[in-house]
Symmetry: C2
Subunit: 239 residues, 2 copies
């Protein structure tokens, strides 16, 4: 095949660096980007890799090349990825709920296959504890609830996905969102959630991956619905 | 409710910091952890929040408290989350495929609802380009394929999930994995993938979220299967 596995930097990594460069250039759209030769030196990749990555950016409409003049930024700015350490500052609770709905049913599915007996016993203990918490103490609920969901993520046995779970959980944990989460937490809903947690552990312990994923999805959809109502109606009774 | 939304640090954030501290303590299991008072000062949270977080860790079996002696680490070490910037160093291709299967069908589903016409036109152009690449050039394939999948992730309109996508893509991009990916790429499979990509864009353009998610899942399952065969059989024909 045309490329060697030993290449330290390929076109894909050149593309990632160019995306960052374009982002910095956004404030100065009239300035040309460095030449291909300068870019190749700066990123320590070949000129062929630079040209290929520029092809992609041109196709995406994010740069345009002017014969004899150079390469310019625009018209379409890329949606920049969040630097992952900045997630808590730049994301929000609505994005969190969507991301949890994508991640956590899959984690529950994997946990049903991979959880050790010890890990299942831990989930059972955490779930038991949540039954006995005082209704009025939001901080304590968040704490045990987060530990419960993390026990499932850990039992799924994929460190990459545990890393993603923690990144999402860090946004959820932001104190600024807490009053909405408190508002969404009514006694009837908490009873419901206890029931969901109980079913979740039951399916994981019975090694039922599809049922565990469904139980998690239903639980998260209920949480999402409660948050939407808290956002839209505040303390009022929802219609 | 018991907690104020203004609290800068709650029990959940104390728990996260304690998990990191335990990890550092792993090399010295006989040393007691700092006292609750010291921990409260160090993490700038209340002692109540520290005690609660320690309760969780004790329930998880990760610390034990000895009357009058202090708090010790053990016996069960927590599975540490990956520091997200370390993901490419610490994860692997098998974890990547699992994570992609969790993330990307959901991204395709959201893209079918949220993609602008401009974003759909971009997907079509990228997919078109992939049809005309030389079979022998792995680097170029990776480049356009990654741009295509990222266009879908971007069109899903959730910056948190785009951040997760980029984190996973950074692992995939590691040059050390490239020879396996090259090995898995046969002419027949590439034809197949072109077909998958075509169907994906068609469903997104037709605003069919369930079909788009299914098309993405089938595409990723085929990729996963090809990688498993490359891992297990190398250049031989699979049985």
């Amino acid at each position: 095949m045309g490329d060697t596995p030993e290449t330290a930097a390929n076109s894909s990594s050149a593309l990632e660096k160019l995306r960052q460069l374009i982002q910095q250039h956004d404030a100065h759209p009239d300035l040309a980007l460095p030449t291909e030769r300068e870019l190749a030196e700066r990123f320590a990749v070949g000129r062929r890799e630079i040209r290929r990555a520029l092809d992609v950016l041109e196709e995406e409409g994010r740069i345009w090349r002017k014969q004899g003049k150079g390469t310019y930024v625009g018209p379409a700015a890329p949606v920049q990825p969040l630097a992952l350490q900045d997630l808590p500052q730049q994301s929000n609770l609505v994005e969190v709920m969507e991301a949890r709905l994508q991640l956590e049913p899959g984690l529950a599915r994997l946990a049903a296959i991979r959880a050790s007996k010890e890990q299942i016993a831990l989930m059972q203990r955490l779930q038991e504890r949540m039954n006995h918490l005082s209704l009025s103490d939001g901080d304590e609920h968040e704490l045990w609830d987060s530990a419960f969901h993390r026990a499932i993520a850990e039992a799924a046995g994929n460190r990459l996905m545990l890393g993603l779970f923690d990144a999402v959980d860090a946004v959820r944990r932001e104190p600024a969102w807490q009053h909405l989460r408190v508002q969404a937490r009514t006694p009837a809903r908490l009873d419901n959630y206890d029931d969901h947690h109980h079913r979740l552990v039951k399916h994981i312990a019975a090694r039922q991956p599809a049922e565990a994923a469904t139980a998690m999805r239903e639980h998260l959809l209920a949480l999402q619905q409660a948050l939407i109502e808290a956002i839209n109606f505040g303390d009022e009774e929802p219609l």
